[in-house]
């Protein structure tokens, strides 16, 4: 009887405590999952920075919507490029502790970026023109740099002058030394040893000091200019409260953001299904998603382009892959839709062309007329066979294809081991090409060796990122990657050579340079994109097989309502910082409490 009483008392207390705890929620809130450093220091330059609170606490000059090419002003009200200067008019606003936000904060911030991160040295000087106008004097006005300065959350508000100002003189000294060294490097000059040593000594001592600095410990809070300020952080939860001084505060109707630690995908799945978090973007197998829909029908899914494609790339130093006929045969012999189903079922299908423009942006950049002129590589093994036969390849009695000079077509598909979706794709590609009659083996690249092997050219074909519009989501970024960046470094594709096109003989390297110059002029840019798409599709430096997507799961109607419809172009803001999308919707007042 005694035991029974004890159990009863315990149960009652438990229920009371839980009721009490749930009754203490203050105001409307929204919940997400993310990660952050703990012990929490509140210092963007400290280890792990401030984790997933980044876009909530810091604000860029603007947001860029890839699907429309539109810039949405945030901390800047307007801007213009004048000569070698980017002139930014700042919004009249305040830090969360009430201190006015001014151009001096930008000056302080840039000095810290130079001193702590050795970046972006392209900003030669910051001119404070007035309280709310700042001019960034640049060593280059390349559109990629301008875009980065306008949209990167780090450029404007990491180091409030009234918090970090005490370190500013030291920051400026380190920044100036670092920039001198960088400038000498750009000019191809030798850096004097004493300058190098002086810099290393001062920079290392400065960084140690800043890394140890914790606004939270020293001031009890971290003043922010963004929409929410982190106010309470434990190892498993981070609570942000609305910045009452933010310029959108009157519209924002959610007073609190609660982050649960993204400790594992399983925890995030459980939290989504149970309605404990309102949105997350975990990678989930198809069968689990089907289960989710059964368990919680209110859970919605929006798959947004992650602005990159997976591709099979060729090593052009290997004689085998210099033959365009072989590359075309591989393109036809691959059932790319099946590869996509196996490697990443939610990804976008790209099984027709391989033109280097993201499938999700194809309609924006490529006309139907142009697409008609491109070779459509939809799965067609018979076509692959006829191409090879016409080119003098033969199939032996062992079922293996041989080159015109009688060698078995044998090669390896290399893939970086830690990327599990790449490995799934590589296995399927290997099997399909084996079945077609090539002697193919799979090679796994061990962790940490990807760069060494790929840049060293120690592979024949490999699964890699193909086109990727990271940073500045524009075809120019994708083609820069293909013909001037990482892909050409890996493949040694002769990008500077001329290729026959309907517009004459053209070099993709030069076309990419021209495209970079006209990124802000869509009509001219489209012309170059069409030419580059033609070369990419007809000369196949790589064969793309899926467009990666970011699956965003969200609950409409649990705590909040007002998620945009699936066609809304603002979803495309998610890749590279999904929290920007949440911040935009919260600060506009679109995401609002469920009544």
């Amino acid at each position: 009887m005694k035991k029974l009483n004890l159990i009863l008392i315990f149960t009652i207390l438990l229920i009371i405590s839980l009721t009490l705890s749930s009754a203490q929620v203050k105001g409307p809130e929204i919940r997400f999952a993310t990660s952050w450093p703990f012990p929490f220091h509140g210092n963007a330059f400290g280890p792990g920075a401030i984790g997933g609170a980044w876009w909530f606490a810091y604000e860029p000059f603007s947001y860029y919507i890839p699907a429309t090419g539109e810039y949405i002003p945030r901390l800047a009200t307007s801007w213009k490029v004048e000569g070698n200067k980017l002139i930014v008019n700042l919004r009249k606003t305040k830090w969360s502790d009430g201190t006015p936000f001014t151009a001096k904060d930008i000056e302080c911030n840039v000095a810290f970026l130079h001193a702590m991160w050795e970046w972006p040295y392209e900003i030669a000087e910051v001119e404070v023109r007035s309280e709310n106008t700042v001019a960034l004097v640049l060593s280059s006005t390349h559109p990629f740099l301008i875009h980065s300065l306008l949209t990167d959350g780090a450029i404007s508000t990491l180091a409030p002058s009234h918090v970090y100002g005490k370190f500013l003189a030291e920051a400026k000294e380190v920044a100036s030394l670092g920039r001198r060294i960088w400038q000498l490097g750009v000019e191809g000059k030798k850096v004097p040893e004493d300058l190098k040593k002086d810099y290393e000594k001062k920079a290392s001592s400065f960084r140690a000091k800043i890394n140890e600095f914790s606004p939270i410990k020293e001031r009890g809070r971290m003043p922010v200019v963004g929409t929410y300020e982190p106010v309470r952080v434990t190892q498993t939860e981070m609570v942000l409260e609305k910045n009452k001084n933010h310029w959108t505060a009157s519209k924002n109707r959610i007073s609190r953001v609660v982050f649960r630690r993204w400790s594992s995908n399983e925890f995030v799945w459980a939290s989504l299904v149970a309605g404990e978090i309102d949105a997350a973007h975990p990678s989930i197998p198809k069968d689990v998603v089907d289960q989710f829909n059964l368990l919680n029908p209110n859970l919605k899914l929006k798959a947004v382009s992650d602005l990159s494609e997976f591709a099979l790339v060729f090593n052009f130093e290997k004689p085998l892959f210099k033959d365009l006929n072989l590359r075309k045969a591989i393109a036809y012999a691959l059932n790319r839709a099946k590869v996509r189903d196996i490697a990443a079922w939610q990804a976008k299908d790209v099984s027709d062309y391989s033109h280097g423009v993201l499938k999700s942006m194809e309609k924006t950049w490529l006309s139907t007329d142009l697409l008609k002129t491109l070779t459509n590589y939809t799965y067609n093994p018979a076509k692959a066979e006829s191409i090879l036969k016409e080119a003098g390849y033969t199939k032996g009695s062992d079922g293996l294809w041989r080159t015109p000079d009688g060698k078995v077509v044998a090669f390896a598909v290399s893939v970086y081991g830690p990327h599990s979706d790449w490995v799934l794709a590589a296995r399927e590609i290997t099997e399909q090409l084996k079945n077609f009659g090539f002697k193919v083996e799979l090679k796994i690249i061990p962790e940490g060796m990807r760069d060494t092997i790929m840049r060293g050219g120690d592979y024949e074909t490999a699964v890699e990122f193909g086109t990727a519009w990271w940073g500045y989501p524009h075809p120019a970024t994708g083609y820069t990657r293909l013909y001037q960046g990482e892909v050409v470094d890996f493949t040694r594709f002769p990008a500077k050579s001329n290729f026959k096109t309907p517009w004459g003989n053209l070099s993709p390297y030069e076309l990419t340079e021209k495209l970079q110059e006209v990124t802000s002029k869509p009509a001219e840019a489209k012309d170059y994109v069409a030419k580059l798409a033609y070369i990419t599709n007809e000369y196949l430096p790589m064969i793309s097989f899926l467009e990666k997507v970011l699956p965003i799961f969200y609950l409409d109607g649990k705590r909040v309502v007002g998620w945009p419809n699936p066609e809304d172009p603002r979803w495309s803001l998610a890749p590279g910082g999904i929290e920007r999308l949440y911040v935009l919707l919260l600060s506009n007042g679109e995401l609002r409490p469920k009544l």
């Binding site: 207390l13 438990l14 203490q24 280890p47 702590m116 190892q235 459980a270």
Partner: protein, 328 residues
């Protein structure tokens, strides 16, 4: 006293050797703590990986060229004064990390170990005594099934059934984020409620393991002459069970329990990540993925010291509970 002194000297030597091994194993791990950052810098700034790695080393303040012997001497000096080192990833002392995370780990894992050990040994002994009956078959089969289930699957099962379907367990955290920590009934009950999931997921496999071991030990002891003699003497079943069988069967398990207590200091990474519960295990995961050699060495050192000292204390306890050791 001499015995204790001798054992203390042995403990000291053992700790020194184990710490040395830990240090060199961690140092020989492949990878560079700045590599991830370097790749990101190389991609965003379009520069070579070598240059990016140099910048990344500067940013995180890591010097890969520091001689290993200097690092070793610094490590030993620090450990000697109770300093478990410095985390390059979290940029804070390992002591601070241990101070923040260890209480949660100890809270859950000590409760789980205590529950697992007592429930397991009691049920294991009962099973052995009821050999051949339904109770024995039920307990032995259940424990064998639990042992066969991977810990990960069991934890996910408890999470989805307990927290998602039945809504009996809270999802994540050590207490509701709205509550202010303090020593008051509501908070204490919330703490217990939040610890239930990790506690069940940790203690059930332990219970099965201890239970099967106890069952085996008891089964052997039941066949011993002194048990038969006790029965002939007419002692009751409960006295035979308590004083003759269980006491003798549990002795070999005490040593394993001591090692288990030592390992407790390392936390339970799997359970912590599945339940999003705070503790040392999270830092192990972070230290490995970020190649934070300082943190990894510090945490391993903590476990080594924990295991060595737990073993030492067990030996002292052994001397008290086992008359044969006492006589020696």
């Amino acid at each position: 006293m001499k015995y204790i002194l001798n054992r203390l000297i042995q403990v000291f030597i053992m700790t020194f050797l184990a710490l040395t091994v830990v240090f060199f194993i961690v140092q020989s791990m492949p990878g560079d703590p700045a590599f991830g950052l370097a790749v990101s810098i190389a991609q965003t700034r379009n520069m070579s990986l070598e240059k990016a790695l140099e910048i990344a080393h500067n940013i995180i303040g890591y010097n890969p060229k520091e001689p290993i012997i200097l690092k070793y001497i610094k490590f030993l000096k620090n450990i000697f004064v109770g300093n478990f080192g410095y985390s390059t990833y979290f940029k804070t002392s390992v002591n601070e990390i241990i101070g923040k995370a260890l209480p949660w780990t100890l809270f859950v894992i000590s409760l789980a170990t205590a529950f697992g050990f007592f429930a397991g040994t009691t049920l294991g002994a009962l099973s052995a005594q009821k050999r051949g009956t339904f109770i024995d078959t039920f307990i032995a089969t259940l424990f064998s099934i639990i042992q066969a289930i991977p810990a990960f699957v069991l934890a996910v099962f408890i999470l989805f059934i307990g927290a998602v379907r039945l809504r009996l367990l809270p999802l994540g955290g050590a207490y509701p984020v709205e509550m202010t920590p303090g020593f008051y009934p509501g908070f204490i009950l919330a703490l217990i409620h939040h610890a239930l999931g990790p506690l069940i997921a940790t203690s059930i496999p332990q219970m099965a393991s201890w239970g099967l071991a106890m069952r085996g030990n008891c089964s052997n002891i039941i066949e011993e002459d002194f048990v038969r003699f006790a029965k002939i003497r007419g002692l009751s079943d409960s006295v035979i069970s308590q004083k003759y069988i269980r006491k003798n069967a549990i002795l070999p398990l005490v040593a394993s329990l001591a090692i288990g207590i030592g390992y407790m200091l390392g936390g339970h990474t799997l359970v912590e990540v599945i339940f999003n519960y705070p503790g040392i295990g999270y830092y192990f995961g972070q230290a490995i993925s970020a190649r934070d050699f300082g943190l990894l060495t510090g945490l391993f050192s903590l476990i080594v010291i924990g295991v060595v000292f737990a073993t030492f204390i067990t030996e002292l306890l052994y001397a008290i509970i086992d008359p044969r050791v006492k006589a020696q």
